[in-house]
Structure formats: structure tokens, C-alpha cells
Symmetry: C2
Subunit: 342 residues, 2 copies
């Protein structure tokens, strides 16, 4: 392990002052003779010099790091989001500190503490819904906070990027209704989440528009984690007059719900038609290929990163920005046309 050269070592070796080396390091910060510049560059290469980000950050807490706080990354939806966010950030020279909450507000609060100490310029997060005080503090500190996929109603001043949950659920439900389904179930996120509520609202509107009876038994909320999703699916199937179609609108639990359906030996779409909120590659590989609501993850990522860096670039507009991108209903083979039997 060699001792790390500093800017002063470089300056001395090149026979110039540290100020000049700093200028070479930051083009545009001041004039440097071409000959000097190349000499300094040579010395830096020979010495294996690399400026330390920590030292640079000390002067002005710079917009070079961004926090990405997700529920977990094993979920394909979040994984793809993380992938896109990282790519988008990298393309702007920004680094990403990845953290997970496991939907645990205690863990979330710890992570937020770390992000504060690191003075990240922005945070992109899927909030658990608690820790409102800390989120507020973060904003007061000048950190750009962006909620993605979900939001917290009691924090209306935070930027939000998500799909149009209402419209997505509405159109998915409408599609099922148009195929003759009258008993349509929906499994959505917790009622405390905006995501969950909006999707249910869209579902209701579609049911009403189709003139279908709204049975509260057909509406299920499931927590983002744990067995709740599977339980909801099982419960839905065991009611007296079970649904012939199901919208799985809890993005985080799609796999869990499908596993339960599969184990129950449900024939899709024979017994049950299904539309899910998840556009993972494998939804196409299943038998039958699943009809899905495709979330434009790249757009979610791009807008999130943009907003998370907005204030930094002086583009802060007093009001919080809410971006709703359109989701796409991709029809495949998991929805059956129901014959009129009654």
C-alpha cells in the first residue's frame, strides 16, 4: 500500500503552486499555460495522483451524490428503477448511494439520518409513510426530496413522480368489464398509501361506468411486504361468489399473489382472468402470457433524477412538482372473454 500523494506533492514535483494544480484539476477556474498544464498532468500521472472527493466536498456540499432509498431491491420493479436511476445519474456525473428500508420505518429513519450526515443533494425514495418530521427536516436542510411510485399525503410539499394510478386501474378494470366480467376483484396497496387509494378509486370508477355492482368483498388491500398479498388472493377466491377476473395492482406483491394462484391450481384465464401491474420480462414467458400494466420505468427514473437535482441547479420553483406518467395496458393472453351465462 503506497502513501497517497496530495495536491501539494504534485505541486512540488511540478514546481508550481497548489493553486495552479487546482486550476488544472478544474478547467475553467483560471488560466494555466499550456506547457504548465501538460507538465502538471504528467506529474499527476506519474505520481498516481487522484483528488479526494471528500476534501472537495468540504468546501461546498456539492451536488455529486444522490440518495436512492427503496423498499428493497430484490423486487424487480424497484430493481429496474434502481438500474435506470443509476444510469441516469451517471450520465450526469452523479453518484448514487443505495439504501433499503424493508418497509420498516425505523430503518428508514436511520437511513435518513445517514443521508443527512452525508449532505446528499437529493433523495429519491419510496417512503414508508412515516417519519414525516424527518422528511420535513430534510427539505428544510435544502435537500431535494422526490417520492417515486408512492407519496405521503401529509407531505404535500414534496415532489412526486409516479404513473397515473387512477387511470391505469380504471382502464385495466374497464378492459375486464368489456370482456364481459361482472365480478372483478382487485388487490391493491395498503389503504394508507396514495398508490393503493388511487388505484382503488380508478377501479371504482370503471365499475360504476360499466354499471357493475361494487362489492366491498372484492376490494382487498395488502401491505407491500410479507404474506399479505398471498393471503388477500386466497381470501378473494374463497368468498361466496368469487371473482372471474382480478386486477393485481399491488406492484410490490405481484409475484407473491401469482405464486398463490399457481399453487391453488387456478386456471388462467379459464377460471380467473388476470391483469397485473408489473412489466418484468418474465410476465411474457408465463403460460399464458400475462396481460399487464406496463410502467414506464425509464421515465419514472429520468424525471426523478431530474427533480432530485433541480434545486441544485437553481431551478427550484416554489411549488412542488407532481409528475404523472402514463402507463400502458399491454394485452396478452391472461384475460378471457366471458360468455353471457346469466
Amino acid at each position: 500500500m503506497q502513501k497517497q500523494p496530495t495536491i501539494r506533492d504534485v505541486a512540488q514535483a511540478a514546481g508550481v503552486s497548489v493553486a495552479v494544480v487546482s486550476r488544472v484539476l478544474n478547467p475553467g477556474s483560471g488560466p494555466v499555460a499550456a506547457a504548465t498544464r501538460s507538465r502538471v498532468n504528467d506529474v499527476m500521472k506519474n505520481l498516481g495522483y487522484h483528488p479526494r472527493t471528500a476534501a472537495r466536498e468540504l468546501k461546498y456540499g456539492p451536488p455529486t451524490t444522490l440518495g436512492l432509498l427503496l423498499a428493497d431491491v430484490s423486487n424487480p420493479f424497484f430493481a429496474r428503477l434502481a438500474d435506470q436511476v443509476v444510469q441516469e445519474a451517471h450520465s450526469r456525473g452523479i453518484q448514487v448511494l443505495l439504501m433499503t428500508t424493508q418497509e420498516d420505518d425505523q430503518l428508514e429513519s436511520e437511513r435518513l439520518g445517514t443521508l443527512i450526515e452525508r449532505r446528499v443533494s437529493g433523495i429519491i425514495a419510496t417512503p414508508t409513510g412515516n417519519n414525516v418530521a424527518i422528511w420535513k427536516q430534510l427539505q428544510d436542510l435544502g435537500t431535494d426530496v422526490v417520492f417515486v411510485d408512492r407519496s405521503i399525503p401529509s407531505l404535500p410539499e414534496v415532489d412526486v413522480v409516479s404513473i397515473d394510478n387512477f387511470e391505469s386501474a380504471r382502464s385495466a378494470t374497464a378492459l375486464l368489464a368489456a370482456h364481459g366480467h361482472r365480478r372483478i376483484g382487485i388487490i391493491s396497496g395498503p389503504a394508507s398509501s396514495t398508490t393503493g387509494r388511487d388505484r382503488i378509486a380508478g377501479y371504482r370508477q370503471a365499475m360504476e361506468a360499466a354499471g357493475l355492482e361494487q362489492d366491498e368483498l372484492l376490494i382487498r388491500h395488502a401491505a407491500f411486504r410479507g404474506p399479505a398479498g398471498g393471503d388477500a388472493a386466497s381470501a378473494l377466491l374463497s368468498i361466496e361468489d368469487p371473482p372471474t377476473a382480478l386486477v393485481v395492482a399491488n406492484t410490490a406483491q405481484v409475484t407473491e399473489v401469482l405464486r398463490r394462484l399457481s399453487h391453488a391450481g387456478i386456471d388462467i384465464p379459464g377460471t380467473l382472468s388476470v391483469i397485473v401491474f408489473d412489466d418484468s420480462p418474465w410476465t411474457e414467458l408465463m403460460t399464458p402470457a400475462l396481460t399487464i400494466v406496463r410502467q414506464p420505468i425509464d421515465l419514472l427514473a429520468r424525471h426523478s433524477v431530474q427533480l432530485a437535482l433541480a434545486n441544485t441547479q437553481g431551478k427550484s420553483s416554489g411549488k412542488p412538482t407532481v409528475i404523472r406518467v402514463a402507463a400502458e395496458l399491454v394485452e396478452r393472453s391472461s384475460v378471457a372473454r366471458l360468455q353471457f351465462s346469466k
Copy 2:
């Protein structure tokens, strides 16, 4: 946006020196009277003070950040790895800087540059295979480098954590042979990768042990990214005497290969038996449920993090550590028993 209080603000407000505040901040670094401690703590809370990591890092480049450099995170295997690494790191109070290379060595080199400037204490990476000089430099600088899943033969002094690729491929192939298959194909990673080579070697050994003819046409290498995986699958199926069984041993391209098989209308396991290296949840949901080689991602993550922090903790043992964890062959329904027809 409020101005951020510094340690001096706290000191002044509490009527003590900065040294005392620092001691309160770092318990064990020196004596502080209980009364003073609580007074300082109160002031910190009132002022909303949070120490800046950047300033702290300046003194001693500390082991508080770890770089995770993956090919991409949209791939479920890497996503789950990232998830576990982050959890493991968090449990040790370490933060994770996530980066992706897209398997592009140019991008990789840029990312490595950033990691050097940040003086991360350790790096966990799936290397592209190039940039050997930079990896060496990283190590000289005292950074703990750990390759996970793959390695680079020309860098034997780097720690490696992976599954036992040879044995995994051998046992998967042996299972197929035991089911009466004689024409067994394999799609593995590029020949330049250790992963790819080891798996092929395991395959060869199993073929030989079973007394089966080794046809080079049955062995395909596919790059980790791009359409190569799918092309390899198509090519395999169109040879004169096509395989009746296939080992998809290119973890990164499993989905791509399966998609191609699905589109080609191949009946699994009727026409083709399949074993894949991927234990994503959805492999169980497919029809038929896929027989898989399950990689213990949690173990890979745990060992990686441990090694990446080893030197920091003074546990550096001159020699590089190579950890091979056992993978598990999970039999499900995608392998058919072949009747002897010849």
C-alpha cells in the same frame, strides 16, 4: 433553507470548546462530564446539528463506504445480490455506492476512477474482464477488491466469491444424463470469463463420466449482454441433431434464452428439457416449473461484504481469499425422462 450549524456553533451555544463537542460526538475518544455531555446533546438537538461525513472523512479515509460495481441491476440475479449486499453492509454501518458498467469496460474504467477519488474502503464487483491495470492500482492504493460471481484470471491476487461453477454445471449435466438424455446442450458465459469456462469444464466432465459423445456444436458461449444468448439458443435448436436437453448456464441471459425458446414454441420438457442457473421467484411460476441451480445469493453477499471490509479491520492475510459456496440443484418439472428410442 436554513444555514447548517457547524460544530463550532454547537460549541458556542453550549459554552464549551469544539474539542468537547467532538468527544461527545465520538464516545470513547476522551472524557466528558455527564452534565456537559447532556447539555451538548441538548444543544445539538435544538440546533438540528448533524456532523458532516465529508469533514470527518477528510482526516482518515474511513471504512464507511463501499463500492458495488455490477453489470446492471435490472437482471434479477444482480438485483438480489445488490439487495443482500446493501442489507449486509447496513447491518455493519457501512454505506453502499451503487454503480453499473453495462458490461462496458470503458464505463467500468470511469466508475473505477470515481471510486478511487472517493477513497472507498472496498469494492465488490462483477468485472468486465478488462481494466486490469486499474484494478491493480486500486489494490496498491489499499482498497479491498472483491470479485463476485466472476473473476479475472490475469488478476490472481484478488479475492473472489462465487458458487462452485464447475460442480454446479457438472451435477446439472449429470442429472440430465441420468434421465436418459444423450444430446445435452449448454449455453454458458463468454469463454473469456472464468464463470463460462468453469461451467463448461463441469459439463465436459459430466458428459465424459456418462460416456456421452462431446459435440462441440452443443457448447455455446454467449456474451453477458445483448442478443447473444437468444442467438445461441436458436442456433442450438437448428443444428442437424438438436439437443433434447439444455443447460442454460449463463446467469445473465437466462430470461433472454427462455424468451427465445418460448417464441419458438418449444415444448418444455416434451421437446426440450431445461435446467437454468437462476433461482428467481418466477422460475417456479412458469409452466412447467423450472428445474434450477439455486445460487445462495445471501452467502455470496455476506462473504463479499466481509472480504471487502477485511483489510480495513486489519485482517488482511497476504494471500487472496477464494470462496466457493455450494449451489443447490432444485428439481422441478422442466426435465423429462427420455425413453430409450435408439
